[in-house]
Amino acid sequence: MSDEYDNNKSYQAQSSEVLDGSAGSINPDMDYVRPAEIPEQDLYHAHSFIEKWIFCQDAKVIGVQYFLTAVFTGIVGLILSWLMRLQLGFPELAGFMTAEHYYQFVTMHGMIMVVYFLTALFLGGFGNYLIPLMVGARDMVFPYVNMLSFWMFFVAVAVLMASFFVPGGPTGAGWTLYPPQTILEGTPGSGTGILLMLISLSLFVIGFTMGGLNYMITILQARTRGMTLMRMPLTVWGIFTATVLAMLAFPALLVSAIMMTLDKVLQTSFFMPTILKAGEVLEYGGGSPILFQHLFWFFGHPEVYIVALPAFGIVSDLISVHARKNIFGYRMMVWAIVGIGGLSFFVWAHHMYVSGMNPWFGFFFATTTLIIAVPTAMKVYNWILTLWRGNIRINTVMLWCLGFIVTFVNGGITGIFLGNVSVDVPLSDTYFVVAHFHMVMGIAPLMVIMGAVYHWFPLVAGKMLSETLGKWHFWITFLGAYSIYFPMHYLGFIGVPRRYFEMYDSPYMTSTVGMNEFISVAAFIVGAAQFILVFNIIKTLKTGKKAEQNPWKANSLEWYTSTVPPEHGNFGERLPVVHRWPYDFSVPGAKDDFIPQTTAPSEVANTEVEKT
């Protein structure tokens, strides 16, 4: 590590412009940042095409690899949702689809979207790309393990996709995989399909653990000089807390997957009670199906926040940058993220109110569930207060952020309905639940992902995405998503059960035909609209205009790399030195409306910057 006091010369040069005739002398004490504590990371540079693009150890390439693989699975999930909507809206057109197919599509859609798409995209994709850049590190701390992490994920996806092609098809037990029906004959894919699903999940957990260790240690132990935890962008806070949750919650998934595999393969009875099948007693007996539900949701609820917290963090940064205003209540935001993360381990059984668990649990879990609404609401207030009297730029990124706030508030409020036992019982397993979780952890994080793609694409590719196409993409998606999920709340209230292949002659069927058709049409349009982004990216890569460095005038370190897009090692000769938080926008007295994190205090001595 270069140990000399960083950039003294350049400080003087710049500060003479800024200060110009004021106090005059530069005070080195004011700019003091203590010396480097960790030696310079020694990086293994790639020597061949394979090492550079396939088995690559550069976190940025790994991030893009994660992103592309996750998007691929996401598109598969999207197509599955189209098929489901086709059956629900226009069953006469979906004659090729049997009930078994429908269950399999429901299951795979859920599992793919939650685990293989959103989790992998936020943590694997954005985490890998942004963490080292934002904390001022050269790379992840264990590049080799990071590379293994991606390939483990890749194999997990391959195994998952393979289950479409085995006899019996993929599992059709619902994404929660509740035993005993998951592994009993009669459930679609109860043979090879479920085994491949469990293997794929285990591989995902192992791969994610490798990645997660990297993210955590990079953030905790490899920040650059001056980068305190409370000077990190909220993006990093969100991803960090989500990674902690994942490291502690995925073990429960791994354990339940192992136990269910044993139930399936070795006929153990961990989860399997005594079962009568066609008058015959099966060999199982004495197991506890509810144990699986506890294990699964001990993972499953933190998983919701694994998806939501990075979205919270990223959207905070995007709103702040594009409203040219510091994030309102930065510390409150950090503590809210940490608080939500901590609490998320104490709320899991609110998914199980109707499962027949110990009846006293409802009280405990309803209480903790409602408590978790407090930090979440604080975050929403802070986003709105950040926007308040900001210099808002209504560009594509900001539109996605505003869309996020609206959908998130909507989904959050229905969450409070469902958190109360007495309200949940009549609503559970209806379309109200479907509408709730799609709003809060489907559409809302997706809006953030889209905003983040438009925001960081100039950094990754060095070109600006088309704003016109972006706005079309946003408005179709936003209005379309509301057309899909708003009517679903109503379907839930009149009691339409979810996961049903068809309603037969029930009153649900006859009275909801029109609404189902409307939802389906909206779903087809919204799904197709996502390909606007694909088209936009391809078009931009070919003919788009070149982005300047730091096109959004942001402060955080990823925009201050030596080259755009950043090369291996990120920052050229010297790592940056950080003097402030990344939210010094529109500071009174400053020359520009933004002060990069690397600007020394003496350069902006006459401004009213926050002390961070």
């Binding site: 203590r34 502690l248 791994l254």
Partner: protein, 236 residues
């Protein structure tokens, strides 16, 4: 560990130190090697894995209406015609603690750059681990011979065999991984890879004696898990 200095930073003890460490730049765990921090966080995650196993075991055993087998009889060995309860388990515990002790000393000698001592102690640890795995194989085959299967057993609740094979199997898997790495590290220590800072085969990272401590953490964790399994599964 204890006495170290960090430039421009006052290392304060106790909770005040925790506050200033957390509030500082660059690192939160002052003076902790990246690999060591990684191993600790991994072990935390692994603790959750074993906790979930043991909690499932508690739930499974607690809610079965069939009697749970008396472990002290099931795991007894006959010595001269007299059943000695848990004899094999006691020996296994003894072996594992022995190997944990040699590992602790290996870490110490590693930091003192005492290559020979460190190497022999790691070898002793590896042999201890191998003995443990061997005895576990013996224990498994004895139980299988007596008719205990994952799906049922002649002594009582079927879940006994299921949990037994799963939990000890998962622990034994950890031990086996540890043994493999112990043998690799024995070679690396004796070949002097840590003195010459030779780069790793795959990771291309420079070798350092801190790796011995990292492996040591893993090995002690395996021992730690055994303490809990011994208490909850065999004695309870």
């Amino acid at each position: 560990m204890s006495e170290q200095k960090i430039d421009g930073f006052e290392l304060r003890p106790g909770f005040k130190g925790m506050a200033s460490d957390t509030g500082s730049d660059q690192t939160m765990f002052k003076g902790v090697h990246w690999g060591k921090a990684m191993m600790w966080i991994f072990l935390l995650s692994d603790t959750f894995v074993f906790s979930c196993f043991l909690i499932s075991y508690m739930k499974g055993r607690g809610s079965t209406i069939v009697d749970w087998p008396n472990t002290s009889e099931v795991f007894s060995l006959y010595v001269g015609g007299v059943p000695v309860p848990l004899l094999l388990i006691a020996i296994m515990t003894f072996v594992l603690i022995t190997s944990s002790g040699t590992m602790a000393l290996a870490v110490k000698y590693g930091y003192e750059k005492n290559r020979k001592m460190c190497g022999w102690l790691i070898l002793a640890t590896a042999v201890g681990g191998l003995t443990f795995v061997g005895m576990q194989v013996f224990e498994w085959s004895k139980l299988i011979h007596e008719g205990v299967r994952p799906w049922g057993n002649p002594f009582g609740a079927a879940q006994f065999g299921s949990f037994f094979f799963m939990i000890t199997g998962f622990h034994g898997f950890h031990v086996s991984i540890g043994v493999i790495f112990l043998f690799i590290y024995t070679y690396k220590v004796f070949a002097g890879h840590y003195d010459s800072k030779k780069r790793g085969w795959f990771t291309k990272m420079k070798g350092d004696y801190v790796e011995i401590e990292i492996l040591g953490l893993y090995w002690h964790f395996v021992d730690l898990v055994w303490v809990f399994i011994f208490a909850f599964f065999y004695l309870w």
